[in-house]
């Protein structure tokens, strides 16, 4: 580049750009003249593949969370990727599963709540949706965190995505810390047994852990809010469990769904069922007997009470819906 010595770097780049675009134009015009006798259409050649590719990459990159914000909170939740995935979550909630949410307005907004819900399906779509619903419709607009089973948090790819969207490994230490720092928590005390439940057992709630929910609520003095989620069971129905190649890929078993091994990874997509989320009346910390911390029998009775409340919410929603497809 024969420019003066005072030329800045930008000018040099400018010249380079001009030369490049000139070259590109030359190549293009040559290829178009060559293809003209063959009768190909002009429009195809002029199509700017490069910018189209960039556009595609930008859009899908947003979905794939390629870009990150510069800060995450102490549990790894990333506001920027949350903001970008909000479009997808809105679509899933409003269009795909046509979710109806009721009872959220009665939930207290004075402090953190401990939401307790029934769990279904292998992938935690129910946690994501409940999280999203609470953020959208609860008066405080505070995004709760949902607790995710150990094995799911240890799974490659699941761990970074779930924690960026507000998933936290399910254990007492984490729940306590979240409640102490003023975050609402969504717990699925059925845990593993519910996620791996087969289709024939749908909407029958399993045993509720070992009383961790009651302990967390009493110790941190937060209300327990029972939530029934209907529709998630049919979205990812497990027909039966195959355990042959499971250990090799680090799963507890291989779920066989109507679509899963059959359609490959596409089969992991949930079905478009109709979802109903019913939020029940909160159990205030004053109603819970603090003696339950030392009395195992009382503890299990209280736990069972919470389980029954959620079972009621689920059964009632089931009675009122026409079919799984809404």
């Amino acid at each position: 580049m024969a420019q003066g010595p005072d030329t800045g770097e930008d000018d040099g780049l400018e010249v380079l750009h001009l030369a490049l675009s000139d070259l590109r134009r030359k190549i293009r015009s040559r290829s178009s003249t060559r293809s003209e006798p063959l009768g190909s259409s002009e429009g195809l050649v002029d199509f700017d593949w490069q910018s189209a590719f960039d556009e595609l990459r930008r859009r899908f990159g947003a979905l794939g969370m390629v870009e990150r914000s510069a800060e995450v909170d102490e549990f790894g939740m990333d506001d920027a990727s949350l903001e970008r995935s909000r479009v997808l979550l809105d679509f899933l909630m409003d269009r795909y599963w046509r979710t109806t949410v009721s009872g959220l307005d009665t939930v207290g907004s004075g402090g953190p709540n401990l939401f307790v819900a029934n769990r279904s399906g292998l992938l935690p779509y129910d946690g994501l949706m409940l999280c999203h619903a609470i953020e959208r419709w609860h008066p405080t607009r505070d995004r709760p965190r949902f607790l995710v089973a150990d094995w799911l948090m240890a799974l490659p790819f699941a761990q970074p995505y779930l924690s960026r969207l507000g998933g936290v490994r399910a254990c007492r230490e984490n729940a306590d810390r979240l409640l102490r720092t003023g975050h609402s928590v969504i717990a699925f005390p059925e845990g593993m047994t519910a996620a791996t439940k087969i289709f024939a057992e749908r909407y029958r709630l399993k045993r509720f852990g070992r009383g961790g929910v009651i302990r967390a609520a009493v110790e941190n003095r937060v209300p327990i809010v029972p939530v029934g989620i209907v529709g998630a069971e049919e979205a990812q129905p497990i027909l039966f469990k195959a355990d042959l190649p499971a250990r090799e890929i680090g799963l507890p078993f291989v779920p066989v769904t109507p679509t899963f091994p059959l359609l490959g990874p596409l089969g992991l997509l949930p079905l478009p069922t109709k979802w109903i989320i019913r939020v029940g009346e909160a159990i205030l910390p004053d109603d819970l007997d603090p003696g339950a911390l030392d009395d195992e029998l009382l503890l299990s009775r209280l736990t069972e009470e919470v389980r029954e409340r959620i079972q009621e919410l689920v059964s009632e929603a089931l009675r009122h819906r026409a079919s799984a497809w809404g």
């Binding site: 990150r68 510069a70 995450v72 102490e74 549990f75 790894g76 990333d78 150990d150 948090m153 240890a154 799974l155 490659p156 790819f157 761990q159 970074p160 924690s163 936290v168 490994r169 254990c171 007492r172 230490e173 984490n174 810390r177």
Partner: protein, 322 residues
Amino acid sequence: MIGPRCVALTGLNTFVGQRLAERLLALPEPPRLVGIDLRQPLDLEGRIAFRPLDLTRATADGELATMLADERVEAVVHLAFRSSPTANLEYDHELETLGSLHVMHACSAAKVGRLVLASSTMLYGPNSTNPNFLHEGRGLGGHADAPGIQNRVEAEELLAHWAPRHPDVQVCVLRHCWVMGPTYSDHVVRYFDRPVVPVVLGYDPLMQFIHEGDLVSVFEKATLESHPGVYNVVGRGVVPLSMLLALAGKRSLPLPGWLLHRMPSVHSQGQAGDLPEGFFDYLRHLWVADGERGWQAFGEPVYTTKEAWISFVSSRRTERFD
């Protein structure tokens, strides 16, 4: 409060040993320093009393006890741990586990009032069942595949067994996380100090660092003030590994975990030095420690995790352009 009048540093030739000696000498009323190591660091020559000692010798406890009693040492800071893993497992065990035991025995024999032990949050072990923040009371799981880590876990177990029987020695255990900074170097720093960093495919753990300056400050306070107990020494905040690499402009090379585990030669060919077995588990699972107790005792660290990382990265950049 009056600090100890004479401080002994076992493992003077380590990073913390040298920096701590400099800091203590710079105090308005510096305590007398006794440096104990195999070799004397050159720039401290003449300014401190140096005593050569090999902690792996069977009679090291007696020799050390005589030294401590002769010099009337009031506080011992035990830093004689390797900063990088070694293939010589037997020597490693002798130094890290039995060396620590010798120091403990010598402290009680010479009636030393205070023992500060350097430890690491790596001893909690990387585990998918770890809570997001590990408390000091958490058991030390270590890492079954990493003998170097297991030796230090054993050293802490010996200490936990020894301390209640010697209540006259006040014990402070400082478990620090990975250290970053302009001058600090160990196998972790060397691992990250390259343009392309291999990571475990599908995992993006939250990482936690402490700045070298903050680390030395904590050791200084633990030496001079009375802080009995176990403390996690970490920076504030956590940052995902992917974000750290993006901040530094480094590329990540995601490799499947089984490949990283089964090909130890990848490490040496990647010029990573001798990475310990199981190192990649620390880039896979959570092992972030809860620093609240440490911050309350030793004050707020100057650098957050992210700032410590940036301080390391920016120092390497200027090095390259020098």
